[in-house]
């Protein structure tokens, strides 16, 4: 048990190995810092975290060191005394900021980082409103291309070297480096070797100022207009925790959210830039029924009762010929509701798992300079490109014990053993597509096909009902990642057009009243499905809840 005194306030830090920044954080005191980041090595180069440090001896006397020291590379131990408000510490922070601002341009109005910039924040809290600099500032030319997704505004850089350390330590590919010396140092790449690894855009989040900017988000919006929701990236089964930034029903960007149980601090570019289909104009906007070969729009109320009656009559004739196919892009709650609907028609009705997109193999970082993965692994981009296979499988196991694959459904359909088919797809547009043309041809023999999807596919070309699905950014619910970690997703934008969330559509099919409220459904599901019993509380917390991970 170690006690640290932060500004004379004792804080118990237990047995953790912390530096002074982290110890002060425990006491609710912010020690400003730029170069230090919990996921990167310590260099203590920015000098922003200078504090006065001393030691409280067992007899109660305090001995202070005669100078300020960087908090990021000083370990906290029992009896450490941290003073951040003494004139020496305050002056040190003040002077460091003045030095950083000597060459930093005052272009906040046109800088994308403004509003979430650590230099703005610290200058406001610890710095001065004026500059004594009378000479001209260094204005090194910008480097618009240092990578496909990243651009560098060289003059804004404060040389914290976070990005350089990231590419060396986490990505491993070491594209970035510092060239020149002193006030002329710059971040740069080797000629012809751009920053194009799959983790490259993380340097934009790491950059404390607006030097490294994401080309995808560049000048798209000002950050203070964005509304942030906590969500989960749906693009692979790692299930990275993310911040979903949107405004006026448009998703503008995704940022990683720290989650030690899921992925850590970062996220990959595939996931970060893979959200654009949510804003796509090609998405289905209204429920339609195929009449005389043409898709005709109908109100939800009519279409829900038409679909329900179609499935009821099919199930009455032959229960096993009624099939619901659950996509691994559904949330657990939606899968639960749809399973309830299908199994409610007839106990013999069957549930299947829709195709699980697998692309290549798991991609691990760091890599070496030749792109070969090295140990220890710090980040994994998984081959399974869907967020919730395990959650949907748990639902399927609970409702029918076995998991029928999509291929099996297609085989049955070809043999004429499927009379009614509900495809809850909700797939993003990816090169391979979730259903091949031959599979779609096989399904064409089914007399009643409901395609509940986001975008046109070979199935929606002939399906009898095409229902618009809601994208993950529009839904509340739960995703279970590859390791059995259940995390809550929250809607950041509302569905466009007449689109309803999938849960609401299943509510209508089940003839349940009211709005589909994910936490309520989650509670009901937790009571019924033992696998989800741990989710009985209404809140899954910031980091999610690790379900029993013995299966699958």
């Amino acid at each position: 048990m170690a006690t640290v005194y932060v500004n004379d306030k004792p804080v118990d830090i237990g047995n953790e190995k912390l530096n002074l920044i982290q110890a002060a954080q425990k006491a609710g005191v912010l020690i400003p810092h730029y170069c230090w980041h919990p996921a990167l090595t310590v260099v203590a180069s920015c000098r922003m975290c200078l504090v006065e440090v001393g030691e409280r001896k067992p007899d109660g006397t305090v001995v202070m060191q005669p100078k300020v020291v960087p908090g990021c590379q000083t370990p906290a131990k029992d009896g450490t005394v941290i003073q951040t408000l003494t004139s020496r510490a305050v002056d040190a922070q003040h002077q460091t900021l003045e030095d950083i601002l000597l060459n930093h341009p005052l272009d906040c109005p046109v800088c994308d980082k403004a509003g979430e910039c650590m230099l703005q924040d610290y200058t406001y809290q610890f710095g001065s409103a004026k500059s004594r600099m009378i000479d001209e500032k260094n204005t090194p030319p910008n480097k618009p291309y240092i990578g496909d997704n990243v651009t560098l505004f060289t003059d804004r850089c404060i040389m914290c070297s976070r990005c350089v350390r990231f590419t060396r330590e986490v990505a491993g590919t070491a594209e970035l480096q510092i060239v020149n010396r002193g006030h002329h140092s710059e971040i740069d790449i080797f000629p012809g070797e751009p920053l194009n690894n799959k983790l490259s855009t993380n340097v934009v989040d790491l950059c404390p100022v607006g030097a490294l900017c994401s080309k995808d988000f560049l000048y798209k919006h000002r950050v203070w207009n964005l509304k942030t929701k906590e969500s989960v990236c749906p693009d692979c089964s790692t299930g990275c925790s993310i911040h979903l930034d949107g405004n006026k029903n448009i998703v503008y960007r995704l940022r990683p959210r720290y989650n030690p149980q899921a992925q850590g601090h970062f996220m990959c570019d595939d996931g970060r830039l893979g959200y654009h289909y949510v804003n796509s104009i090609e998405r289905f906007l209204r429920p339609t029924v195929r009449r005389e070969g043409k898709l005709t729009p109908l109100p939800w109320t009519e279409i829900a009762s038409l679909v329900r009656r179609g499935f009821q009559s099919a199930a009455q004739k032959d229960g096993t010929s009624t099939v619901g196919v659950l996509s691994p892009f559904l949330t657990c709650e939606e899968a639960y509701l749809l399973a309830k609907f299908i199994k409610g028609l007839s106990p013999q009705a069957r549930l299947a798992l829709d195709s699980v997109p697998i692309v290549g193999e798991d991609d691990t970082y760091p890599k070496d300079r030749r792109g070969r993965p090295t140990e220890p692994v710090k980040f994994t981009i998984r081959a399974e490109k869907c967020p919730n296979r395990r959650g949907v499988e748990a639902i399927l196991r609970h409702f029918q014990g076995e998991i029928i694959s999509f291929e099996q459904v297609v085989r049955d359909a070809v043999e004429g053993r499927v009379q009614a088919l509900y495809l809850a797809a909700g797939y993003p547009p990816r090169p391979s597509g979730w259903v091949s043309d031959t599979q779609a041809q096989g399904l064409q023999r089914v007399p009643l096909v409901v395609c509940h999807d986001l975008l046109p596919s070979p199935v929606s070309n002939f399906a009898h009902y095409v229902l618009p699905g809601a994208a993950w950014a529009e839904k509340d619910g739960t995703f279970v990642n590859h390791a059995g970690l259940a995390q809550a997703i929250h809607w950041g934008i509302t569905p466009t057009g007449e689109v309803r969330t999938d849960g609401q559509v299943f509510f209508d099919l089940l003839e349940r009243r009211g709005l589909a409220h994910a936490p309520t459904v989650r509670k009901e599901m937790a009571a019924e499905v033992p696998y989800f019993a741990a989710l009985a509380g209404s809140d899954l917390g910031e980091y999610g809840i690790l379900l029993e991970s013995s299966q699958g």
């Binding site: 305050v90 002056d91 003040h94 005052l106 272009d107 906040c108 109005p109 046109v110 406001y124 809290q125 001065s128 409103a129 004026k130 500059s131 004594r132 009378i134 910008n142 505004f153 560049l218 000048y219 798209k220 000002r222 203070w224 207009n225």
Partner: protein
């Protein structure tokens, strides 16, 4: 920086005496001004009725009418698409779409810039927020249109208001033509350097 307790000066309302408590002198003092203005209007040459619309009124140059988007010396739009005006706008009537600028001396420019003149409350906050003095309110007040759409002023329209007002010589008084705003200048010019601010 947060305000330090030592910088805060507390002011209390002074006690009023017997004369002030009667209020009569204050009322008479106020009436004096009223009578002076009435007399001037009745007997002097200060007739204030204006024959609008036959005679166009000459408005003071700090009047807050229709907006204009200023041009720089090369005739390009001065705006840098920083969204400060739309952020400051209490009526949310400014819509900007920014894009990388086609000119080498600037990073960002407004691809579209639309002000809903019907929604605008003409408070002038956009003008105050602008770091480069690109948006200004002019003395144009008689704004009419046949549809709501025609009252959505886009970039071209707002630039044409600039051209018109420059031609008519009715520049707003707030113009500091040719000079950029406070944020773009060295602190020495702004007077910040001379003022003694409390350093921590």
């Amino acid at each position: 920086m947060p305000i330090a307790a030592s910088d805060v000066k507390w002011v209390t309302t002074p006690m009023i005496g017997l004369i002030e408590q009667l209020y009569v002198p204050a009322i008479l003092q106020g009436l004096q001004t009223t009578v002076r203005h009435a007399a001037k209007a009745m007997f002097g040459d200060g007739a204030i009725t204006q024959q609008y619309p036959e005679v166009e009124p000459k408005l003071p140059p700090n009047y807050r009418g229709v907006h204009r988007l200023n041009r720089d010396e090369q005739g390009r739009v001065k705006c840098v698409a920083c969204y400060m005006c739309s952020t400051a706008c209490p009526a949310h009537c400014i819509d900007i779409v920014a894009a990388p600028s086609p000119w080498p001396d600037r990073e960002k420019y407004p691809e579209t810039f639309v002000i809903d003149e019907l929604r605008c409350i003409y408070c002038g906050m956009c003008e105050q927020a602008c770091p480069v003095d690109a948006i200004e309110l002019t003395t144009l007040f008689d704004l009419t249109g046949m549809s709501r759409e025609s009252m959505m002023f886009d970039k071209e329209k707002l630039l044409s208001v600039f051209d018109e007002t420059v031609k008519a010589g009715t520049d707003p008084i707030r113009t500091r033509a040719g000079r950029l705003g406070v944020a773009s200048e060295l602190p020495a010019d702004t007077g910040l350097a001379s003022s003694s601010s409390a350093q921590s």
